[in-house]
Every structure is written in C-alpha cells, then in structure tokens.
C-alpha cells in the first residue's frame, strides 16, 4: 500500500514497510543530503547501515534512511549540520 510522506516539504507516495532509502531512490530522490564539510550532495552508498551517507532528519534527529522502513506521515528533511565555516 502506498502511503504519504514528505521529503524536504514535497509530498510523495511510498510503499508502506519498504526500506526507506530504497523507496526514496525508486521515487527519484538521488541526493539525500549535503555534507556539513563542503556542502557536496550525497546519497546511499552501502545500503547496509555502515557508511552513513544516506543520513536524513526525522523529528529533529539524524537517522540512516537505509535502516528505516516507510511509514505513513514521515516528515523527512536533509540534516542541518552546517558547512564548515558557515556558522
């Protein structure tokens, strides 16, 4: 069943219970975040919880998208860690 989630404010329908990183990739989201060091775009790399590239922010906490499942109503944002020197 497809359920609604938002990614950076954009609503999308993802399959409930699916791996969140895989579902976002399938929905066409390539860059999950920008790095706090240089601001470069990053997306999933290992898909097994080891590389921490697929980090997203849910309810104020940074999480690994590849270690989560899709649930209705998830509000997903890019993590807010700053780029070096920006703050």
């Amino acid at each position: 069943m497809l359920v609604p989630v938002t990614f950076e404010g954009a609503e999308m329908m993802l399959p409930e219970g699916a791996n969140l990183a895989a579902a976002l990739l399938a929905a066409g989201v390539g860059a999950f975040r920008t790095t706090p060091v240089s601001g470069a775009a990053r997306g999933p790399y290992c898909m097994m919880g080891a590389c921490f590239e697929c980090l997203i922010e849910i309810s104020g906490a940074t999480r690994q998208a590849c270690m989560m499942q899709v649930q209705a109503g998830l509000v997903i944002a890019k993590p807010k860690g700053r780029a070096n020197g920006a703050g």
């Binding site: 399938a26 240089s38 470069a40 790399y45 919880g49 590389c51 906490a61």
Partner: protein, 470 residues
C-alpha cells in the same frame, strides 16, 4: 538485566548457524541484529520477501532459507532492529548494550560471538562520493530486500560478485549497461596455479564460468584490464570514464556500482582491542582466532567473514564450530560430542577456504585503489584526500591514529569503516613499512552513533551522578 549463555551479534549465516547449534545443545542464546529480518546481507530478507525472488537471485541464495528456518525452530531468541553500540567485557563474560527503536537495553552474556560479516572494501576513486555511486553489495541489497534494480547501471571493479550481480540484474529485466573490470588476463593466468582446491575449487570455478556464459547470453558488454576509473557528473553520477586497450573511454549512466572485493568488518573486534593480523592475500586486517573461532580474548568468538573472508558456506560452518566450542566450554557438550559434530563442518570449511588464494590472485585490488591519486577523497565523511594523508605522513605521522589527529580522517559518522584500510595502505606505501607495523584506527565505543538521550539513560538513577564531570 537479562542474562544468557551466548550473545550473538549478527544474524547472517555464521550467526544463524552458531545460535541454532548452541541452542540445540541447550544453551540460552540471544541473537541481536540490526535488520528487520534475519539473513545478514548475503541472505538478506531470505525469510521475508527475498525468497520469492529466487528465480532472480539464484539457488545459492535459498540456502539461507534453511539456516533461517533452523534458527526460527530453535529456542534462540532473535532480536530484530537491535543496534549494538557498546560491548564491555566483564567478570564472567560481556555486557552488550543495544538500542531497539531508540530505547536502550542491556544483556549480559557468558560468551560472545561476533558474526558481523564483511564490508565492501573502500573504493576511493575520483567521483566515488557522487549520488548514484554505490557498492555492488548495495546493488544486491536493493534486489534482495526491495526487488529493485538500480537504473542504467555500470558495474565496475574486480571480483566474481560483479558477475553474479550482473546476471541477477539481467534476470530481473534490467541488465547493466556494461561490466568494467580492473583485473587483467595476466592476473587470471598468474592465479591459475593456485587452483589447488581440487574438485571443490573447480566446482566454484565452473559456477563462475556459468555466470560468464549467462552474461554473454544476455549480451552484457565486458571490458577487462580497465584503469584510471573515474565517475563523472555534476551533483550526481552521469558516467564512468576509464582507459582500456590503451585508449580513454566513457560510458554514460545513472548508477555506478563499485566493487573491489569485501573485507572483514572488524569494527567490534577492534573496539574490543582483540589481536589482529595483516592478511596479505585479502589485503585486510583479520582478527586472530583459533580453530574454533575464539579470539585473543577468552570467551569472545568471531565467525564468518568477520574472521577472514571465506564466503557464506564457510561462514555457516564456522558458526557451527564456534557454537559447538561455546557449548562445550559451558558444559552443555562433552569433547567427544563436540568433535564428532565438528568433523563435517571442518571439512567444509577447509574446502571453502581452499579456493580463496585463487580468487585473491585472480581478482586483485586495483592499483589505483591501493594508491589513490592525491586529489581523490579517501575519507568520505570528513572529505580528506589521499594527498592530505601523504602530506601528514611527511610531517611524521607513522600511523592512522596520528593522521586522524592531524586531519580528522576517520573521525566522521562512519567511524573509519570506509577509509581505514585506505589510510593504512597509503601510510604503508609512504613510509615503506609493512601494514602490520602501520596498524589500524583505534576504534572506540559507541560502535554505532547513538543519541546522547539514549546514552544518558543507561545508568541507574542512583549512580548517574558518579563519574560526574568536574
């Protein structure tokens, strides 16, 4: 606090087999695993959705289903989505701290088995951090867990996993655009004399040839001896550039799946301060274990690829051996029973290991990966280049903990998993010193990042103020 005879970390083939055999012998066993279902990465989702995709994934994958059924039928308890972040040796065993959906909990175990498997070897080449670049393992996980094929993909690197993945993608209806391999025909010829594995070795070889034939049937383009690989693109992967047969080439694509073999995941064994040795064939550090998988710390065992790469079948029997020895140490099995049950497992393990020297020689790690160009990022998290590491080597840094202090390489959230080996290789090369002398990162708890909120609640309220800062 819950107390068990055996705590197993990881529900892949080694963990499943060890837990089953130990529980069958009468031990209380708990298996902690980060994923929502057992199987590890090699048999990921085998007991849930994956088994329905056997026509794509192949019958080897189904072997995991048997291991999973055995574990489910045993008395061992399997905790899913349990992220272990602290392991502390203590009197009579270890204390394991983990979080389940953000709530921390602890278990005390008389014996510990680390069955944490392998990681993809880091593949530091230009552009490897672009979105759209993933490991070949990630490509397989997408297939197994989500039935998803990475779109418009080029597979690049070295190792038989690339053939299997290419065939699986083709069977799923989206073959990769090409297979760009870094090993050369010369590597493969040089490896041939190492085919000392007898009949079993040949069986694996024939399976490999079968995959190659299937690749040809699907019309998948293969280029070997590729060098100077580089992922190109702005903000995402748009193509793979490389040179082969003496000329520069480029393939446009949306996904690049990289592979240079897998290496033991030594994060937990390092954090526990266990002894490790450099394995020249695997070009990786391997924890030191005895014939049963017991590490340099009595009572802590390691089985499966985490103790040295030997594949899924080897992992399952190594798990059995560890489980038998643990049952014997705790008095649930006598030595005669242990040895009788161990005999077939040992035979399989020896046979599975015998093919490794051939594979290691036939699919060597590409030179550009072992010695990345100065501008190539080696630490993805802190965005540190190979040139930075070399510069600090010139300032006197002889080991990875010094370069870490000099420039944060290895300090990010992946905790050094995807730069550690590269830094050891670079320093070894820069100083012309053996890898064993260069050493590896000192890994500290937490094994995985954990929120301060979770950490703050693990002490009982009455002693939370002890060890009080200031």
């Amino acid at each position: 606090m819950e107390q068990v005879d055996l705590g197993v970390i990881g529900a892949g083939p080694a963990g499943m087999a060890a837990a089953t055999i130990a529980a069958t012998a009468g031990l209380s066993v708990v298996v902690l695993d980060e994923q929502p279902a057992m199987g590890g990465q090699i048999y990921r989702a085998v007991a849930s959705g994956g088994a329905a995709r056997t026509d794509i994934l192949g019958k080897d994958y189904l072997e995991g289903a048997g291991l999973a059924q055995d574990l489910q039928a045993s008395t061992a308890r399997h905790l899913t989505e349990a992220v272990v972040w602290d392991i502390a040796p203590q009197e009579g065993g270890v204390a394991i701290t983990y979080s389940h959906k953000g709530i921390p909990a602890r278990i005390e175990a008389k014996r510990l088995l680390l069955a944490t498997g392998a990681l993809e070897r880091p593949v530091p080449l230009p552009g490897w951090t672009l979105p759209g670049v993933m490991t070949a393992g990630a490509g397989q996980i997408l297939l197994k867990a989500s039935g998803m094929v990475a779109p418009r993909a080029v597979l690049a690197g070295s190792g038989p996993l690339l053939y299997l993945l290419a065939v699986q993608m083709a069977r799923a209806g989206s073959p990769p655009l090409a297979l760009i391999e870094t090993q050369s025909l010369r590597d493969q010829l040089a490896a041939a004399p190492r085919l000392a594995g007898g009949i079993r070795g040949w069986r694996i070889l024939i399976k490999g040839l079968g995959l190659l034939a299937e690749l040809r049937r699907h019309g998948i383009r293969r280029i070997t001896g590729a060098r100077d690989l580089e992922v190109i693109g702005t903000g995402r992967a748009e193509g793979l550039r490389f040179s082969a047969q003496g000329r520069a080439q480029e393939i446009a694509c949306d996904t690049v799946l990289l592979h240079q073999g897998v290496v033991p995941n030594t994060q937990a064994s390092r954090a526990l301060g266990l002894a490790h040795d450099w394995h020249a064939g695997q070009r990786a550090f391997v924890p030191r274990t005895d014939g049963w998988g017991e590490s340099s710390h009595p009572g802590i065992f390691i089985a499966g690829d985490g103790a040295g790469i030997a594949g899924a079948k080897a992992a399952a029997v190594a798990g059995q051996l560890a489980g038998l020895q643990i049952a014997c140490q705790l008095g649930a099995l006598d030595r005669a029973a242990r040895d009788a049950k161990a005999q077939p497992a040992r035979k399989t393990l020896d046979a599975e290991r015998s093919i490794r020297p051939f594979l290691e020689a036939a699919y060597p790690v590409a030179a550009q990966i072992l010695c990345p160009a100065d501008k190539t990022l080696v630490c993805r998290c802190e965005e540190v280049t190979a040139g930075d590491v070399r510069h600090w080597a010139g300032l006197g840094c002889k080991g990875p903990n010094q370069t870490k202090a000099f420039g944060r390489v290895g300090m990010g959230p992946c905790q050094g998993r995807y730069c550690g080996l590269t830094v050891t290789e670079i320093l070894s090369h820069s100083h012309n010193l053996p890898h064993s002398q260069i050493g590896a990162y000192r890994i500290r708890m937490p094994l995985k990042p954990v929120t301060l909120g979770e950490l703050s609640t693990v002490n009982a309220p009455e002693d939370a103020e002890e060890g009080h800062p200031k």
